[in-house]
Symmetry: C2
Subunit: 422 residues, 2 copies
Amino acid sequence: MSENLSIQEYANLLAENAREASQFVRALSADTRNQVLFRVAKLLRERLHEILAANAVDVEAAEGNLSPSMVDRLTLNPARIEAMAKGVEEIAAFTDPLNRVLEKRTLKNGLDISRVSVPIGTIFFIYESRPNVTIDGAALCFKSGNAVILRGGKESLASSKYLTTLFREALQIGGVHEDAVQLVRTPDRELMRLLLQKNEEIDLVIPRGGEGLIRAVVEQSRIPVIKHFNGICHIYVDKSAKFSEVGAILENAKVQRPSVCNTMETLLIDRAIDDNVIRDFLSPLVKKEVQFFGDAEVCSRIENVHEIEDMSHYRIEYLDLKLSIRFVGGVEEACAHIEKYSSRHTEAILAEDTTVQNYFIQHVDSSSVMINASTRFADGGEYGLGAEVGISTDKLHARGPMGMESLCTYQWIVRGNGQIRE
Amino acid sequence: MSENLSIQEYANLLAENAREASQFVRALSADTRNQVLFRVAKLLRERLHEILAANAVDVEAAEGNLSPSMVDRLTLNPARIEAMAKGVEEIAAFTDPLNRVLEKRTLKNGLDISRVSVPIGTIFFIYESRPNVTIDGAALCFKSGNAVILRGGKESLASSKYLTTLFREALQIGGVHEDAVQLVRTPDRELMRLLLQKNEEIDLVIPRGGEGLIRAVVEQSRIPVIKHFNGICHIYVDKSAKFSEVGAILENAKVQRPSVCNTMETLLIDRAIDDNVIRDFLSPLVKKEVQFFGDAEVCSRIENVHEIEDMSHYRIEYLDLKLSIRFVGGVEEACAHIEKYSSRHTEAILAEDTTVQNYFIQHVDSSSVMINASTRFADGGEYGLGAEVGISTDKLHARGPMGMESLCTYQWIVRGNGQIRE
């Protein structure tokens, strides 16, 4: 980047470079793409000290200014760098998402029609302070044949600059257009806003981070965004549930990792279940000191419940050892509650009655529906999707856990021998 | 609609009704949905005179105020009503797009994971003056389990009101929530703008019509839009082409139906082809009085060419018996021209050399790529997709000709027997 470009000129340059590079990257063989990725992994190991030195600049600037957990997030060490290298190797080893024939038919007139997976083109990848996302985002986009513009947080700029330079070195060694991977070198907000207007050159925006960042991106963008908002996940315990299993599932869904999006935030209990049974299946949560919140009915039937002030409380995503509880008069009311309060991420039903299970599946409009299993399974790794791009809370293009095919679109390829339309 | 609602209240009501109805529609069996559609077809035939009477109101108001072709577009007659009925029956008879298992695996821990097609939810369908789109849009959305808000042009309001009432009668007879199909009864622009902000209740917007309408929708919408912009389709004739076939393909692509989006607008000719060969394959176009436009080189090699003023001329979508022509130095230059000037709809290559064909496929980023066939084949009916929703010029969710699966998304259904995550 020439240092005397205006912000607008710099945005234009980034977008045009990406568009141009995308033409080259889409035509590369899987082998060429994978060799570049293995080279990136190799360079990450060889340049350990240089990476740590670049990262030290960020860490030094952060210490005293950012919270210890923020500083921890942006700190690299040999183990974390090795994990980055391994991650890139896993992406390289994964099945090629491109050139898959998704559909194929031969028409009466002899035309061969195939629908084939191809790269989306150019991706604008926006994230916060973890420098490892620089490598992960670049590797996922490059593997899927896309050119990427990376825009990390300003806290990790020195690390991201070094890591991007390293990735571009691997591209150059592989004979690939270096602008397949570009880093926004001045992460100010106006530049991001300008790039989000570039719907002619940029095909897709993927923001990764807190809700504030994602809302800002969605509001400013003229480009399609694949986004992840919050997860207000429900478990409904029906009177037909196998009660001996309920306690372990609730504990897993709430306690195993409360800070993530597929954790249970609200428990819906069939009013017909006996108080003693309820006490039994809640006891693992009580032991783990989960705090309960609920309306007057919940307070009257369950011990130590904080009474909520109004129903909007049921829209809270705690990401903590807290749980909202409500009684419902069966699966229909459970679905009505979920329709009103859920974020359409993941909901589970614990029930043996298959009619009840089917009603739940048909009426719950969330990306994942679990029957007799913990909500914590809603995850690309658990679903066997390999290298994970994220979890989409949108309905179009990609929904729920996303594999690399979410970075691809398709083309119709029609082969003939002189056909004309009647 | 209560007549004393404000515009804002009416928008809220339409959106909330659609959301509520979508819950019911998504759970209907294919049989119930198809029976409603067959009933719609039956009512269309039975109510011929009532439909014509309602339509006469629109036609009378239009005569003298609108152009004869506009009046023709909104005029119904017995043959057109029969075509509407047949269209609905075809949609009813088509394979159910819902509950298809798109992917399925059983994990080591015993969890069964399926990715299953489900309705998107609520669709806002915006169109212009053809009243038959009221029935077509409602039938496509209902068949795919979605609730729809229809917004036709004001010129056809009386017809659309009657047709919507008829569709809702069929819903009522079938025991289905009537708000599965709603018509915006005051088609003013402010109401449309308000509805386009309802991203909590409405999942998808589909505008059908001229570029002005579509641009307005895209600019105002906070909801994802599947859109169709223009088609600036290219044919590249390589020096390896089978020249005996070229003339017929060019004639078909330009002359058969010049007003549609998959017609050829620009012809790229390999500079190495002999002038006499070019004259031969252009002669069918000359006979059909197609006007040629091109730069100085084209004027020097081909007779009767209008010289263009600047290169931006190559971005014109004529939709008429006019053709832009340019010489290129082979497939690489052809792809570079297409990258710069195409609308990424459909491009064709006429070449026997497979290396050249493959280069073209790899470098052309358009929704359809034709090898040795007319661009006119880019069409859902020709591709065998059945009931056609339209042609998308977007890259995400749906690209190119769209079948009913473009009105569906998917859900992950996970069946267990008490599994918790390790």
